[in-house]
């Protein structure tokens, strides 16, 4: 094919709301937007380190900040996003990596299932560890 035929010439003009017409597209955009939840909460972890480095008063401020109703609402939205991210991520894993046992590929449910199990076990362990060690 002629190299000058660049893919940009095939591009149709699309509304910026193209994704609002089909549920699968809305779901796709929502899934991509969970990355905002991920970045937002990662920043909170940095804030935790920052405040703890400021001594007990700094830590008091951190506890006050995370107890503020505005942050509780934001954290709730972020939490919904994080759960959606985890679920969609683990569901996608079997499609990204096909593991074969003998000649047969391992069923998707086995891979996704072990991901979910690992996620739950890790979560319970961390929660328990944090309550015991702080």
């Amino acid at each position: 094919m002629d190299k000058s035929v660049n893919k940009q010439y095939y591009r149709k003009d699309m509304s910026i709301f193209w994704w609002t017409r089909k549920w699968t597209h809305i779901r796709f955009i929502l899934r991509e937007l969970t990355s905002l939840s991920v970045a937002f909460f990662a920043l909170e972890i940095v804030l935790l380190f920052f405040s703890v480095s400021r001594g007990p008063e700094g830590y008091q401020t951190f506890v006050a900040v995370i107890s503020n109703p505005i942050l509780i609402i934001l954290n709730f939205i972020a939490f919904v996003g994080l759960i959606f991210h985890s679920v969609t991520w683990f569901d996608l894993a079997p499609k990204a990596m096909v593991i074969k046992v003998g000649k047969r590929p391992l069923p998707a449910i086995v891979i996704a299932g072990s991901n979910y199990m690992g996620w739950i076990v890790v979560s319970v362990l961390i929660f328990w560890f944090l309550t015991e060690n702080t």
Partner: protein
Amino acid sequence: MKRRAEPFWWSLFGAGGVMSAMFLPVLLLFFGFAVPFGWIDVPAYEGLRTLLDMFLVKLLLFAIVALSFFHWAHRFRFTLYEGLQLHRFSRTIAFLCYGIAILLSVFACYVMFVL
């Protein structure tokens, strides 16, 4: 964005996706709800400080946080291209998203390991 750089950014995105999917929900559950709502006692300063001063804990949390920023950068970059049809500005958007992720990671590294 140069074609050959894509696998590099994609691998950071993938690693960040795994780390954030595994570790962030439970940490948010703990600090975002369990502590503010009093499901558990507010962690004492000394205990938390000792925990966060442990090198392995710092290293793990830094990996989680930094990879999460790169995960965000990669996804948000494509959401802007595709969602808002901004293909014309693809280079600028890529530069901004990864730039922000790099700056935030350097900042996180400073806060966690230097302060």
